[in-house]
Point group: D2
């Protein structure tokens, strides 16, 4: 049995509040043997999505007993500005409460510098190409952080610091949750095979289109590079992978469930030869996939109070009710109960966090077209 | 089988918003045969506590098939200002978001006018005393509503309008919920026997001390009257009752559970001879009571992320953990997990709505001393 | 003197809240003689930016005494969801509080349908081209409103309804305010000459780049059309204009200032021959312009409490302080006062609404390069 | 000229947030010569009321050049939980955003222990009585802080720590602001003469009735003691004084105005012989007083958008408009403008922070009966 794995702890400054109070982020680093891919795992970029912190706790508890081939960096509380923003009893954490900008839409991507880089790699080996490209990505982010006199937004300062760490890894896991949600995985289309190593039944496959998120910010550059090189006839194998792992519902900590999720991640890391072990086996479950464009949000056709009926993760047949909406103001002289359904089969994945909705609130997200991942 | 019960619907103006939009409340009234006590039932005074609306829906569905001896008034969406105040995904509804005042602490109570009334009842029958006292309470509230030129707060305008309806009833049920909570009942000490007719295992017994809530605002005057008359040697039987019925957790609508809660309320109404039927039977469950002063809040000794461990409604032995608090910032160089316990047995009733807490947040409410209600 | 101008009032449904309460928007329409351009004016799309409602009041008071050549539609309270969302004492109105999406970034623009239209106009007159294009824009928006079964977001429902009215006009004015702000105008680059008819000293010139706002949603299609036709060698004169008029600071109503702003708008409408009069004269003031890309936000380099020093609308020389930031936590063992300046001359236009800022909060917006509009 | 005044700085822990981040408060202490009364000054107990921090800055800048007879303790950022709670652009700081409890209503007062103390002082000198009573107050607060296993609320932990410092002083100044407000002073009735040494035109005189605020928590015990002793025939002179100093409007820092306010406070401290100087002279202004019961809030009779008309600090004659409320939804078929007035003369002191109000929002606070303080 492995012993004495050293976990290095450091602290990053992530923001200052009005009173001058500093918000910091602990960073845990475990040095591997330099024989496997490096990994970056962060949690809680959205304030209310706290369960990833518990997963990092359980991962550390496991990792300290394992032999690491690659380095692993783990960052809980990645966004302390979001995590500490209580709003009434809940945490208002999906966006900067001052600007409305989603904390997970502020990472950096620069198409132009990739295009420029591709011009310069003729004759280089893949290792050389990779090394140079990683340095480019790091320089780009450092350039943004090392800002001009007009400064950075609160969210950019956080995102760029995290991205700098993530670009140093080969594999990136960004731990999130839905509002009230089943577990699901965001996976780049090219990495579908890796989805089979997580104990997660539902996977959204995402294209090479940057929308500001951490997973995209770390895989889109490499995917773009690979496609450009292949288009030029240069042989290049895309090996980097990034996932957004949706761990279930927000506003919850459950250390026992977190232990299960840690095992699921370790199964993936074992498959990727980050850890030297064979003890982790992915669960035998049926896995479903859905293209991002078929992962649909359903918006409430009316204001009201919602009794969410559809179970997560199971096929809901066309015409079966997703939800019924109570409208007591209509009792007696109208319809007090409205049933909501769709005209095709779907798999519900998550629903809104509250029964009270305005007209136009996102009620459910569903796989509208789905297929088995084998 | 009873048919054609007429449900009368009216609409009350409860507030105006900045755009001039009116917020209204539907009021349902069913006329009884004048042979039983009159009942007032309201729901959703706190914005996030929506399940009572569903219970009123299920009550109406039942009542329209029953024979009523007394009148019943039902008011869902009692506070549309609170119900419509979304704050992020959730509903910020326990207090007026502008002033912080709890919506259920703004009802009216006037000790002095009761003292004055007691001076005047010599020689009157209980029926006469009751009639006169009810008129007094109504006049007092109307006097507050028919305000001076300085006006009323948003919450007073709502509370006084509701209280005016409630004072016309003999029995008052105010339907609430906790944050994340088991069902429980607030019951005046003198009405403990009635608690046995609700399908609710835990009852908080409250003294004759007005703190602004609807239940107190409607039973404290009568309790005070009864005590004063008895002290004067006048024979008087206290028959009015008011309860706050806590239906479970906030932010949820479940029409099936609401059906069960409607049956529980109908069991009480049958016992009180408001409805002419014998079909409803309270469940055979063990019921526990706790004095209000022994119903304790536990405040978090630290900031952190909470894994709530204690089950609701079951005795937690001294030393057993209520919760464990994750503090990832201490991982590696401190204690990342803190277990919270008490030095005596308690029954946990509810806990905070979110895993993320500041130091000093109310984590749990528990029965610290409890007894069986038989 | 003109008499009896008929103001037609109608009401649009804009949303439903959890209690079922409907939020509506009043629409005022004045029929012109069909001899001038049609105008659409809306206010208060952002909840806290209320002064435009007062300007519409003053415009209506003036317009009812004037002769109209074109039709004018005026929509106060354009977004009642935003206007009614109080958050504490203030109005949280720049974005949907549930999703964070800016209410003024949800309008519709479809490049593809424009490209397609341009293919079909050979041989048509400009009047025919305009007529057909306007119908196309209307159909596109109606198509979005006449949604599929997955529905619309709260903000899309509002934006598309407003856009449908705006597309029927030739000139569009969207009345906004800054946080704490001087008056300024957003004007498409091609319409710079029109800026001289408003009593507004500072104008931001915006390019043909759609970012979701009302002004862009209504001028970008026409600008794109004009450019495409000109590129094809077809003679086409761009006559449509849209402006975002920033009336000063949010959270304020001042009917006297609104009267002045109404005169400024009437001066523009007179210039455009919408109203038959010569009584309105733009003020003799020096007007400055700035390209959108030179209109810079300055983000706070630290958390703290800000004493905003720079006056709006006047050139602040390089090195002069924009603000000083108080950090009492540093008093005695650090710098309690930090002065903020830039290394080039700027014109400050607006600043943040509160003295309390986090690191990264937008402190000021300034014209970083500016020129006189003559 | 005095030199080398030593300012001692220490830091108090005031709270922990969900990420574990500590919120601290800097405490500045200047030792006097032990010949004058001791002073406690705090600022920013309500999060948005930040100007007191700037006043403490300016006081420190002055005090370091002065000779102190008594000790002075100054506490800016007294409540960092409130100060750092941004809500949108503004600071939601008057109450705990989780519970709604006003941060300045959580101080401690124990009538019973005072009654008990009065029983025990026969034969003691005033100095001995004072010494013993101060120890009692300190022990009471320490007892609350040294809590039982159920813990303290977030606000109690803050309030009790501050109160412990305040009880060690003879004179207490709690620096606040109104929403949009003129300067005014809350002064205990017995200390009316001291009000003349502040450069503040309007003073609210408050009775001996504890409602949870810092000023009351520190003067009510002494006032109660004095009254009880006098009632017992014991000669006792009440020398302690506490004031809430309302510095103007919230959400603003202005260091120049703060300098003026520092001079005003120094004038009071000179009068009380805390500082050895004669350089400060109160301004020659007419000062008005108003009993607390005559300091009236006016609540909006309707929802709408408010043009606040009445100037602060000047007598508004009966019938003159306080404000006009715009209701564009009524334009054309109702009254779009409503004027608000009272039937007696008042002095407006402050108004609500936003133009957008619900029905029942507190619009203005006014002196309804007032008199000159001479």
């Amino acid at each position: 049995m492995k012993q004495d794995t050293h976990i290095e702890k450091s602290v990053l400054d992530m923001g200052e509040m009005a009173s001058g109070a500093k918000l910091t982020v602990p960073v845990y680093f475990i040095k591997g043997q330099g024989k496997g891919p490096n990994v970056y795992i962060q949690a809680n970029m959205h304030g209310a999505e706290v369960q990833g912190n518990a997963v990092i706790y359980q991962l550390l508890e496991q990792l300290k007993q394992l032999t690491l081939l690659g380095d692993i960096t783990l960052v809980p509380y990645a966004n302390p500005v979001g995590a500490n923003h209580k709003n009434g009893e809940y945490t208002l954490g999906r966006f900067d409460p001052i600007t409305g900008v989603n904390w997970n839409r502020m990472y950096h991507f620069d198409q132009e510098s990739i295009d420029h880089y591709v011009e310069q790699v003729d004759g280089l080996s893949q290792a050389q190409i990779d090394e140079g490209f990683q340095q480019l990505l790091l320089r780009n982010v450092e350039q943004k952080l090392d800002h001009n006199q007009y400064g950075l937004t609160t969210g950019q300062r956080i995102a760029y610091q995290l991205q700098k760490m993530a670009h140093q890894a080969d594999l990136v896991l960004d731990l999130h949750t839905g509002p009230i949600s089943s577990k699901h995985l965001y996976c780049p289309e090219y990495a579908q095979n890796s989805a089979k190593y997580f104990d997660i039944e539902h996977t959204v496959l995402i294209p090479n289109s940057f929308d500001g998120a951490m997973d995209e910010a770390t895989f889109c550059p490499w995917w773009t590079l690979a496609k450009s090189l292949n288009a030029k006839g240069i042989d290049y194998t895309l090996e980097r992978e990034s996932f957004t792992v949706e761990l279930g519902s927000q506003e919850l900590i459950d250390l026992d469930v977190a232990h299960q999720d840690a095992l699921s991640i370790l199964s993936y890391l074992q498959y990727k030869k980050v850890i030297q072990t064979t003890e982790f086996t992915p669960k035998k479950i049926t896995r479903y996939g859905c293209m991002l464009s078929d992962y649909k949000a359903f918006y409430s056709p009316m204001g009201g109070m919602v009794d969410y009926l559809a179970d997560f993760g199971e096929v809901l047949k066309a015409g079966q009710p997703l939800a019924r909406i109570l409208r007591m103001d209509n009792y007696g002289d109208g319809d007090a109960l409205h049933y909501i359904s769709l005209d095709h089969d779907v798999i519900p994945i998550l629903h809104f966090a509250s029964a009270s909705v305005n007209q136009g609130t996102e009620l459910y997200k569903v796989f509208s077209k789905f297929f088995q991942i084998t």
